[in-house]
Amino acid sequence: MLTKTKAYALKGLEGQAVEIEVDLTPGVPAMEMVGLPDAVVKESKDRVRSAIINSGFDYPIKRITINFAPAETKKEGAIFDLPVAIGILSAYDQIPTNCQDGYVLLGELSLDGSLRKINGLMAILISGLQNGYKKYIVPKENQAEASFVDGIEVYPASNLSEVVNHLSNVSPIPRLETKKFNGKNETSKYGVDFADVKGQLKAKRALEIAVAGGHNVLMVGPPGAGKTMLAKCVLTIMPDLSFEEAVEVTKIHSVAGVLDASQGIVTSRPFRSPHHSITVPALIGGDRRAKPGEVSLAHNGVLFLDEVPEYGRTVLDSLRQPLEDGVVTISRVLQTVEYPACFTLIGSMNPCPCGNYGSKNKECTCSPSQIRNYIGRISGPFLDRIDIQIEVDGISFGEFKDKASGEPSEKIRERVVKVREIERERFKGSKTRTNSEMTNEDIKKYCEVDRESQNLLELSFAKLGLSARAGFRILRVARTIADLEGSDSIKVEHIAEAIQYRSLDKKYWK
C-alpha cells in the first residue's frame, strides 16, 4: 500500500514543498529512507515508531520504504516526523486512506506522541500560501506564529492522536483564528528613554539624524560615558514596525530559532549586540546549514557593536557587503541562500586601550603607538561606511545633578517618522530606501548644493583636513538634516552641521 503526504522543507528563508511517499511491502520489518535525508531525518524512524506505538496505534511489521521527493535536494531537520508518521498510519490503514490529502503536515514528534515546536514556520507558511497550499497542521506551540498568516487554514495540534482524530474527522480541531498585528513602537517596551539621558545634546541630535536617514554611527568616548545607554535609546525613536517588515524579521528569527514562540511575531525592531569574540559565520551567517547570522537577525533594526576595535579585523571587514548591499549571500556546499540584512550599525569604542585618552580628569597610560594601533584596527573601508562619528564624554556627578532632562523619545520619533515618509516618497520605485543608501547618482540628483555651501565644504576640507570621500558622507547627512527641517534644498547650515559629525576624521585618522 502506498500513500503520499505533503510536507515542507526550509531553504534559507523559502519553503520548499516535499512529498513524502510511504510504501509498505511484505518482508523483514525495517524502515528505509531515500531522497537525501540527513542524519536528523534518518533518526526520525525511532521517534516515529515510538510516537505511533505510544499514541496507541499499531506499528506495521513490514518493510517500510519512505521517499522524500524531489529526490535531489537535501532534507534536513526533524520537521518531517509528523508527515512520516501520518504516512505510515495511512499506509497501514490505521486512518482513512488519503484523508491527509490537501493538508501540509509540519511537526517534530516526541516519543510520547506529542508535537514539538519547529523553526522557520512563518517562512514555510508564506511560501506555501504563494504555492497555493491551503490547509496546514502545525504544532500547537507554533500557533501564535501561524496566526499572523492570512489566507490559509491552520489547525494547531498538540499530539499525534489529535492530528489523527482531526484527519479522520472524529474530533476536528477548530481552525486557528488570525490575529491582528500591532507593531506600534512604544517607549515603554524598552525601559529606556532619551529623556533619561542627561546632557549629551550633540550625541542625541546625531542619533536622531542617524535614525531618520538610516545612517551608521560610531561613538567614541571613555568608559562610562553612556555610549551603550545612548545606543539602547536608539530603538525608542525608530519608526513603527510595519507588518511587512515584521514578517521579514519574523521569518529570519524563526529560521534561526530565536523567535519568542508565545509572541509568534516580532513586534519591535531587533537590537542585536553580539560580543566581540564573535566569528565571521556567526555574524554574517553560515555554518553547515547556512543559518542566518547576527546581521540578518538585526534586519530592520539595530546592530550594536560595543568596543569596535576589539572585534577581529576580518569580522569587521566582513560587514562591508551587508552594509553596502543590505543582503548577505551565503554559499555552502549544499546551497546558496540570501538573507536580508538592512540594519543601522551603531558602534562604540574607547579612544585608546586604557580608555582615558582625551579625558579631562583621568590620566591616559597608553603610549602613542598603542593608541595608533588601537585606532588602526578599524580599516579605512569599514570606516568609510560610517556616516556619523561623534565623541561622547562622561559628565561628572556634580554636573549630572544639574543637567536638565532631555526631550522624550516620543517627540523625537515623530520627527524621525516624518523624514522616513519624505524618504519613502523620494525613493519610490528605486532600490534605495534611506538617505544613507543614496548612490552617487542619487546624490547628484537630490543633494544639489549652492555656491555658498560648496565654499564651506571646500574650506572645511582644507581647515579640518577632511578627505574627499568624507564629502559624500557629509552630503548624505546634510540631506537628512534638511529633511528634518522640512527643507527641499540643502542649505549652507545643513552642510555646516553635517561637517560636525566627522569629528574623528580630523582627530584620529589624519
Partner: protein, 370 residues
C-alpha cells in the same frame, strides 16, 4: 661628473667623523684653499701627523685614495636635490655657530633661504600630546606664522608634527631637523610631512644620506633645533621625557624657553610648570608674551560674526566650555549650535577637543553690522 670641490672635501671630512669645530678649524688652517684639499694633502703629511697624530693621518690618506667613491657619493646627493651647507658656507646660520659643537656639514633639502630667517623659534613637546597641548600649540603657532617667525621642529609625531602641519597650513615658514639621513623617513606616518616640507619648507639633517635613526641621532637633532632657534616654545613637558632633555640643554646653551603653564593635575605640564617656577623658562601665558620677547607685536585680525556666533564667543571668553553648557547658556538648539561651531571652526575662531570648545585669542571679534 660636476661637483663643487668644497662639497667633496666636506663629504670626506664627514667620513673622518670630525665633529669638533676646533679640530675642523685646525684642519682648515693647514690648507690654503679647502676646495683643493685633495691636491694639497700629499704635501701636508708632516703637518697632519704633528697636529692630528698618526692614526688620523693614515686614515685621511687612505680615504683620499678613494676619490672616485666620494665623487659618486656626492652625485647621489645632487640627484636627490640635496644641498651641502658646510661650516664655511655663507648660508650656514650664524646662530648655529654659537652652540658648543655645531655640525660641520648640513644636508639641506628645500627652501634654503629659510636658513637666513630673521626670527626663528623651536617648538618642542611630547609625542603624546593632550588636547590642551594641541590647542595651545595651535594658537601659538598661528601667532608665530602671523609674525613671520620661522618654526623649527623635529618632525616627530605629536607636538613636532602638529607644529609643522599647522605652519604649512597657514602658509608659514618651517624648518624640520631630521633624526636620520635625507633618504629615510622617520617616523613613517609623517611621510606626507617629509614631502610637504621639502616642497614648502626646509629639511635639514647632519647625517649622511642613508643613516638610520639611533639614540644619539635624536639627541643630535635636538641640539640643532636648539641651535637654529632664537627661543624654544614648549607647550607641554613631563618629567623624564625627551622634551626634558632638550629643555635642560637649552638652559645650558643659554637659550630662552617659553613654556605654557598647565594644570596642577596634569603630568604633562609638571615640567613646564617647574621651569616657570624656577625662572628657567618664561611663562607663555599668551602668544603676545612670546612675540614681545622678539620685539614683535601681533596685529589682531578682526573677524565679523553673526549674532549666534557672537553669543558663543562671549561664553567662550569665560574659558573652555562643554557643548552641553554652551547650548544651555546660549539657548541655542544643538543643531543651531553645531552650525555656528562649523562656521567658526572654518574661520579659525574656535578650536575643539572632543566636546569642549576653546576660543582663539589671536583674533578680535565683533558682530556683523546689518
Amino acid at each position: 661628473m660636476k661637483y663643487e670641490n668644497a662639497d667633496l672635501t666636506y663629504l670626506l671630512i664627514s667620513y673622518l667623523k670630525i665633529t669638533d669645530v676646533k679640530r675642523l678649524t685646525k684642519l682648515r688652517q693647514l690648507h690654503d684653499e679647502i676646495g683643493d684639499f685633495f691636491n694639497e694633502l700629499p704635501s701636508l703629511k708632516a703637518e697632519y701627523e704633528r697636529e692630528f697624530g698618526e692614526e688620523f693621518t693614515q686614515k685621511t690618506f687612505e680615504l683620499i685614495e678613494n676619490k672616485p667613491f666620494f665623487e659618486k657619493e656626492l652625485n647621489r646627493y645632487y640627484n636627490e636635490g640635496i644641498v651641502l651647507v658646510d661650516y664655511d658656507d655663507s648660508r650656514y646660520p650664524e646662530r648655529l655657530k654659537q652652540i658648543h659643537n655645531p655640525p660641520v656639514l648640513l644636508y639641506a633639502k628645500g627652501d634654503l633661504s629659510l636658513l637666513e630667517s630673521e626670527n626663528t623659534i623651536g617648538v618642542v613637546g611630547p609625542r603624546k600630546i593632550t588636547d590642551y597641548g594641541i590647542n595651545s600649540t595651535k594658537i601659538f603657532v598661528e601667532a608665530f606664522v602671523k609674525a613671520d617667525i620661522t618654526v623649527v621642529s623635529g618632525i616627530a609625531i605629536g607636538t613636532d608634527g602638529l607644529a609643522h602641519r599647522e605652519t604649512l597650513r597657514l602658509g608659514g615658514k618651517t624648518i624640520a631637523v631630521l633624526p636620520c639621513g635625507q633618504n629615510l623617513v622617520y617616523p613613517s606616518q609623517n611621510a606626507d610631512l617629509y614631502r610637504a616640507i621639502a616642497e614648502k619648507g626646509l629639511r635639514i639633517s647632519e647625517y649622511p644620506l642613508d643613516l638610520g635613526v639611533a639614540k644619539y641621532t635624536f639627541a643630535g637633532r635636538n641640539r640643532i633645533i636648539n641651535g637654529l632657534s632664537d627661543a624654544l616654545f614648549v607647550p607641554e613637558a613631563a618629567k623624564g621625557s625627551g622634551t626634558a632633555i632638550t629643555m635642560s640643554h637649552a638652559v645650558s646653551e643659554g637659550n630662552t624657553i617659553y613654556a605654557v603653564p598647565g594644570s596642577v593635575f596634569s603630568k604633562e605640564s609638571e615640567l613646564t610648570n617647574e621651569y616657570i617656577n624656577s625662572g628657567k623658562a618664561r611663562m607663555a601665558s599668551d602668544p603676545d608674551v612670546v612675540l614681545k620677547g622678539y620685539g614683535l607685536g601681533l596685529k589682531k585680525e578682526i573677524v565679523e560674526l553673526t549674532d549666534a556666533e557672537m553669543q558663543v564667543v562671549r561664553i567662550l571668553k569665560g574659558g573652555e566650555t562643554h557643548f552641553d553648557d554652551l547650548a544651555e547658556k546660549s539657548g541655542l538648539s544643538a543643531s543651531e549650535l553645531l552650525v555656528a561651531i562649523s562656521a567658526m571652526e572654518c574661520q579659525g575662531v574656535i578650536n575643539s577637543n572632543g566636546n569642549y570648545y576653546i576660543l582663539n585669542k589671536n583674533k578680535k571679534y565683533k558682530g556683523k553690522t546689518k
